[in-house]
Symmetry: C2
Subunit: 245 residues, 2 copies
């Protein structure tokens, strides 16, 4: 008997909009895996790795995940985003991708580029988000380079984008260096949310729009950052710090 | 002597972000032409056609426009958006597009699809925004169809997107019909701004985010609208109803 390899899932929700990055505004479902090899200081999904939501983790097969997606999303969707945590920890995500593709569903992945999986070559929208200095993480930029070279060799760069979250000027300079190295890859800067416990949505939105304006101004005066997009997190502007939207 | 055909320009500004549609967040310069064949009830750039800013209109050659773009944008940009009014009123925009391409600048155009110009085939990012019932305009959908068929015949659909502004449920149903007809073209719904005279930016942002949430909810429950993006106008969230940002 073949035992299906199970995926640790911490939440499944949608349909909703993708609130950030290359598919901003796109209708999608979300599957969020548990577990991360990083622990970014400002992580807005720390419940995936800090133990606080351990009881929510379910080990699910690709088929079980598909059934739950259909149960809550019905016939309203054609795209699924797999986020984390870091979904690149799990080779068995490949089975989920196959399963979704067989049902004519496009698949987006969000990962930091610290791990590689062969299924990277099959993802329709692969977002790689190297973590800047403010995260207090040490991103292995050589490993990231290997991943991107491999994607290029397999002619997959048109499915890839780089996204860097910016909290301060140091992050900005880090992002600029990465942009200069990979100027052929679509490049997104995203304004960081330092107020992940703020409960007043209107106050949060105003603060985030102010910080977004700050980031826009820095980019606009820059002669290096030209082919670039600067974005906020739309879901946070609309729904605040809530989970599952 | 060859007389260059001049373009009626009402404002040139940037660099700033493209606040809406397929290039949302992208760094770009704006050239706004004067004059429109439409007069949408809720137009947020009515000064381009209602006579209120007639004194600002300058007749400029492609080279003069380029010089002004360089003067204010320096070496910070690689993309120019030509908006209006309706830039498709002017055959001479073709010369501006050539001029910009010769300087390695990508060109986006925003037009409603009521007029056609041969230079549509050279635009890098062509946004066509048919106007829904709330505009009080009567869009000629057969003419729009001819434009899109022509773009398809010239293999240009990968440079095209459709964007429809939504104010109410009637607009939503109109957009749905167009989506069903052109499901192979990237499709954007944008939440309308009914508060174009609101001066309090925070009040405006909250109202627009509320309306954005309303539009998201309508789309999320819909079984027809699948491959779709739903977006706000980021510039209005950040800078309110100001001109020239």
């Amino acid at each position: 008997m073949v035992t299906k390899r199970l995926i640790p899932v911490i939440e499944i929700f949608g349909p909703t909009i993708q609130g950030e990055g290359m598919l901003i505004g796109r209708k999608t479902m979300f599957v969020r895996t548990a577990g991360c090899d990083f622990s970014c200081s400002w992580c807005d999904s720390a419940f995936t790795w800090d133990g606080s939501s351990k009881k929510d983790i379910r080990l699910m097969s690709a088929e079980e995940i598909w059934c739950e997606l259909k149960q809550i999303g019905g016939n309203t969707f054609s795209h699924v985003t797999i986020s984390g945590g870091n979904p690149a920890l799990f080779p068995q995500i490949g089975e989920l991708i196959h399963f979704l593709h067989n049902h004519n569903i496009l698949v987006g992945i969000e990962t930091q580029g610290s791990r590689y999986q062969p299924w990277f070559l099959e993802v329709d929208d692969l977002t790689i988000s190297p973590k800047p200095p403010s995260s207090n993480m040490k991103q292995d930029l050589e490993f990231l380079d290997d991943i991107l070279k491999n994607l290029e060799e397999h002619n997959r760069l048109k499915h890839v984008n780089l996204k860097i979250v910016i909290f301060d000027e140091q992050d900005f300079h880090y992002a600029k260096k990465i942009y200069q190295k990979y100027s052929q890859i679509p490049f997104y800067l995203q304004v960081g949310n330092p107020l992940i416990t703020e409960q007043n949505d209107a106050v949060l939105a105003q603060q985030l729009l102010k910080r977004y304006n700050w980031l826009i101004n820095m980019v606009m005066h820059d002669e290096v950052l030209k082919d670039i997009r600067v974005l906020p997190q739309l879901h946070t502007l609309v729904w605040g710090n809530k989970r599952g939207v």
